[in-house]
């Protein structure tokens, strides 16, 4: 085989492989991305109704209800609006009322956010950046809440 022909084969195979890999990557990326929405955006119907997304904010004080079974209910707020959340399973250690939280899941027909995953961060002082951001936005609309105080300082 001539060197030229060999090089052409190499380039061709390389391009096919690269194409396949990119298809794989972008296909997977499209299917597994979830957008972040604040409770206000959910109330304003900006969140998708049939796709997984992330909801973040603070757990409303006094909203946590534990039943006899494993299903828990609570509400997430950005201080302007709140969304009810339902989750079946064990909540993370640092989950608590008044703490920052991110939940991943879908809205059901009743407008309740059914979470499949709940993340609370591993440091009591830590505030997920998305949540801090959402709180700040809501705080600007409703200026009586000093949202900056809620932000992480460490």
């Amino acid at each position: 085989m001539k060197a030229r022909k060999k090089r052409l084969i190499f380039i061709f195979v390389g391009l096919v492989f690269l194409g396949l890999a990119s298809w794989l990557v972008f296909n997977a990326l499209g299917n597994n991305m979830s957008y972040f929405y604040s409770p206000t955006e959910v109330v304003q119907k900006k969140a998708p109704e049939d796709h997984l997304f992330r909801l973040g904010g603070m757990v409303v004080e006094g909203s946590l209800q534990r039943g006899q079974a494993l299903t828990v209910r609570f509400a997430i707020t950005d201080t302007a609006n709140a969304v009810n959340v339902e989750y079946t399973g064990i909540l993370p250690d640092l989950f608590d009322e008044g703490q920052g939280v991110i939940a991943q899941g879908k809205l059901n027909t009743a407008g309740i956010f059914v979470a499949t995953e709940v993340l609370a961060k591993h440091d009591e002082k830590y505030m997920p950046p998305e949540v801090a951001d959402a709180l700040e936005k809501a705080g600007k609309m409703k200026t009586d809440v000093p949202a900056t105080e809620l932000q992480n300082d460490s």
Partner: protein, 654 residues
């Protein structure tokens, strides 16, 4: 007083790092022998002063000097002594001092084990390493000084994050850093070779053992992190595709590619430009990893203490290092020519494909990790990329790599015949189809095609690797097999074991969140978990509850598990301490959730995970392989004598 000495020593360390980067580089360029000679003593002096600084910080922790802010924030008089040591690198500032210490350790080691390297080359290598040191020590002094005083001094410290009070976390960061930072050695050799204009096989040979050692440390570091996440985070998973995990895994993948590519460059004198590029990228990605972890741009389980303001410094430094290296590369790359030709069916092609797969895998993980950041920076929205992305991209790339891994070591350099290879591999292929295909049927509880597929791959890799080993040892005995060959063999056996572990654990694990009242029991994968209630406990710096579970299998007592729910007194932070009954063939895992109702019932998380340990066992075997390769005789000869050895073509690559 001691903290001031620490800070002063760090400044002196910076001064020596400056000397180490300027004089030797200039000396090598202009041919001034006395400047070149400065490199070694400067490197050692830098180590001395950085070590003094590190010791001063450790001392401040041991003596509970709460007038030092960093100590006050991360320690406490109640903290057990062992954790006083690990608290030194428990947060940002201290971990950077550790980074700097590790870097100067690598630098001093290079200056020690380099008798065979010409002084000019060594001066350039140490000069490049000195430059990296300057950047890091400057970063510590300017943005994150651990010796900063607190006025007035605190009476009591805020305590170390409870999650970090653990043996896994004592060792995880130092090992990881040894690996990350270790890639500075091949990087510096590559840059030095380009600066000197002599890009032959020599730099590859000099940096190979160093690359292996760095890779071993990185592997161990990732392994420990995975093990720690498994038992300490209380989720029972061993890998989460968390951005910070990814940022250690990406350099690992590229570093693995580098090891293989260095072998080709050393033995065949080809792939030169590519290997240099890989060396640059491996270290740059390590730096990027540090940036991602330490800048706070990521929402991650690791974002314990981070500060976005510091990110800017690392980002600029990263830009200088990557931009500078690529500039030098573009200036020199046109002069790099490989005059060695090889056929499509040859070991060169095999290793080329290995590199392509690893590089593409690393790129796709990098993309998934950085994509949310890019989208956020562009203001399009806030997104997250979930684990399914990584699984669905990474696995399809690794399957062909595993198939290839079986064929690669069989191939001859330069050219091979399809017929020769086929006669060797088809029996092993057939055998692995039978064994792997039947394994789930004979050993596991139910048949799963994916499990069969994974096992076929694992047996295939194992089979070919052993066959090549026996071929190598035939007539000469296993003693004659070189260490670097053993290294390759063990590395690949490790992969096989690793594949088995991942396949069986991910498919056959059962995970349940359940609710049990005292006396009630739950059946999981043939095991009966009986809940015997919860009692109060008190630890050194925490209080909490301890559950008791009695495990039986078909009425036979197996073990008692005692998961804990701790509440640390100072940080007021709850922590789930899972109970794990480990075994070679299965792990039982139990963690306490919350109390439910008023009858003493709790929510519990119980897992049965078959073959979980094989994942880490595989990784351990791989690191053993890395150690064998690094200690190959020809490198030791290299260190001792100046005599240049010609590589034997039949000798295998590791």
């Amino acid at each position: 007083m001691i903290p001031e000495i620490g800070q002063f020593a760090l400044i002196l360390g910076l001064v020596f790092a400056l000397v180490q980067t300027t004089l030797p580089l200039a000396g090598a360029h202009f041919g001034i022998a006395s400047w070149v000679a400065v490199a070694k003593p400067a490197a050692r002096a830098q180590l001395l002063f950085v070590a003094i600084s590190f010791a001063a910080l450790t001392w401040s922790f041991l003596t509970h000097d709460f007038s030092v802010k960093y100590v006050a924030v991360n320690s406490n008089t109640q903290l057990p002594t062992l954790y006083l040591f690990s608290a030194v690198w428990g947060a940002h500032e201290g971990s950077l001092v550790l980074w700097a210490l590790v870097l100067s350790l690598w630098t001093a080691s290079v200056s020690l084990f380099s008798r065979s390297i010409p002084p000019k080359v060594l001066a350039r290598v140490l000069g490049v390493m000195g430059f990296v040191s300057v950047g890091f020590i400057l970063f510590i002094l300017v943005t994150s000084n651990p010796f900063e005083r607190l006025v007035p001094a605190a009476i009591e410290g805020r305590d170390l994050n409870p999650l970090l009070q653990d043996i896994g976390l004592i060792l995880h960061p130092p090992l990881l850093y040894m690996g990350y930072v270790g890639f500075v050695v091949p990087f510096s050799f590559a840059i030095a070779a380009m600066l000197g204009g002599r890009l032959d096989a020599a730099w590859a040979r000099w940096s190979r053992p160093w690359t292996h050692v760095a890779w071993v440390f990185l592997t161990l570091g990732i392994l420990l992190g995975s093990w720690w996440a498994y038992y300490e985070l209380g989720w029972g998973g061993w890998w989460f595709w968390d951005p910070v995990e990814n940022s250690s895994f990406i350099p690992w993948l590229v570093g693995t590619a580098l090891m293989h590519s260095l072998a080709v460059t050393e033995k065949r004198g080809t792939f030169k430009a590519w290997t240099v590029l890989l060396a640059i990228f491996t270290f740059s990605l390590s730096l990027l990893g540090t940036f991602l972890v330490r800048s706070g741009v990521l929402t991650s389980v690791h974002a314990f203490a981070s500060d976005p303001a510091r990110g800017a410094f690392i980002l600029v430094f990263l830009a200088v290092v990557v931009g500078g290296s690529l500039l030098i590369y573009s200036w020199r790359a046109s002069q790099i020519r490989s005059h060695v030709h090889f056929d499509i069916l040859s070991r060169e092609t095999g290793l080329l494909l290995n590199n392509v797969f690893l590089a593409v895998a690393a790129t796709s993980i990098l993309l998934g990790t950085l994509y949310p950041l890019i989208v956020d920076a562009l203001g399009i929205g806030k997104i997250s990329v979930g684990p399914p992305y990584f699984n669905s991209v990474f696995l399809p790339l690794m399957v062909p790599l595993a198939i290839l891994l079986g064929v690669g070591p069989l191939l001859r350099w330069k050219r091979d015949s399809f017929h020769r290879v086929w006669t060797k591999v088809w029996p092993i292929g057939a055998l692995s189809l039978v064994i792997g295909g039947l394994f789930p049927l004979l050993v596991m509880d139910f048949y799963d095609v994916r499990a069969a597929f994974g096992m076929i791959l694992a047996v295939w890799v194992l089979g070919v690797t052993l066959r090549v080993l026996f071929e190598q040892a035939r007539g000469r005995g296993f003693i004659s097999v070189s260490r670097s060959f053993w290294g390759m063999t063990l590395g690949h056996i490790g992969i096989a074991v690793f594949i088995m572990g991942i396949t069986l654990t991910s498919i056959y694990s059962t995970e349940k969140d359940i609710q049990l009242a005292p006396g009630e029991s739950y059946d999981l994968a043939g095991y009966t978990f009986r809940f015997d209630g919860v009692t109060k406990i008190t630890g050194e710096n925490y209080g909490g509850s301890e559950g008791k579970l009695t495990i039986t299998k078909k009425g036979v007592y197996i073990t008692t598990m005692k998961p804990e729910k701790r509440k640390y007194r100072v940080q007021k932070q709850p922590l789930t301490e899972a109970a794990i009954d480990a075994g070679l063939f299965r792990d039982l895992f139990a963690a306490l959730g919350e109390p439910l109702g008023n009858k003493g019932a709790w929510s519990l998380r119980v897992y049965h995970k078959p073959f979980l340990r094989w994942i880490w066992l595989g990784a351990l075997i791989m690191t053993l392989g890395g150690l064998f390769s690094a200690s190959d005789r020809r490198y030791r000869k290299l260190a001792g004598r100046k005599k240049k050895q010609r590589a034997v073509v039949t000798e295998a690559v590791s």
